[in-house]
Symmetry: C2
Subunit: 140 residues, 2 copies
């Protein structure tokens, strides 16, 4: 089964390289969203945290030898689903970014960890689990 | 430009309906991941919170009239990118789930808000912004 998606926008910044993860990034840049989606952005405001899903467009196709990887900041190998590696079965990345300014379909943001030219797939509000939410689930 | 993805697994549970969001869900079920990816799961353990990206496979195609929507729990209309609506330009959903048990490629989880039979696209570790991370970014 194939699932086909199309970018809703593109990331712009002027850095040749970016930190490996948004949580350690102070890189600023902009998200240029297709004008067709302008109305969908109307409730995003400066100061908001957003979740951006994007495509790792420079990643080579996944292969079995990438099921366990050595993240660059980590001494031990890890299963791919416990990492944020760009080399994963479906090349979807997730970053939490802070919105600095909205100018129609151009969003100035901080926290970028994706390359200039990255294709954006979705934007969602950032939500954290409510206090105590997961403590009610007993593990076995 | 088209981006093509393939499911890595499927969601199973026995509920006819689910809460509208993981943060208010105590629904339990399982994620059956394709056996080809078994090694990629090796560092996920009971008690972990995971981010699951999935496909809203029952959603009708997006159209302009869905750019602003009325979420069912909310009195005001909102731009789609400020909602978790299943009706969005690319039909990607995001849930935070708690892992209850691992049994090879079958993950028992709680917090489900997706339908039985939903196709899974990716699993990532759950991370929250470090304290003070976003306060260093001045908005304008």
């Amino acid at each position: 089964m194939k699932i086909v998606m199309e970018p809703i926008g593109i990331v712009h910044h002027n850095k040749e390289s970016v930190p490996r993860h948004w949580s350690i990034s102070d890189v600023r840049g902009s998200l240029e969203i297709d004008r067709n989606y302008l109305e969908g952005l109307r409730d995003i405001h400066p100061g908001d945290l957003i979740v951006v899903l994007f495509c790792f467009h420079k990643s080579a196709p996944f292969s079995d030898r990438l099921l366990v990887q050595n993240p660059p900041h980590c001494n031990e190998a890890k299963g791919v689903f416990s990492t944020c590696s760009p080399r994963r079965p479906n090349p979807i990345g997730l970053s939490v970014l802070k919105v600095l300014k909205m100018n129609e379909n151009i969003m100035e943001v901080a926290g970028l960890d994706m390359l200039d030219g990255t294709h954006i797939l979705d934007i969602k509000p950032h939500m954290v689990p409510p206090d105590g939410w997961d403590e009610s689930f007993s593990i076995s």
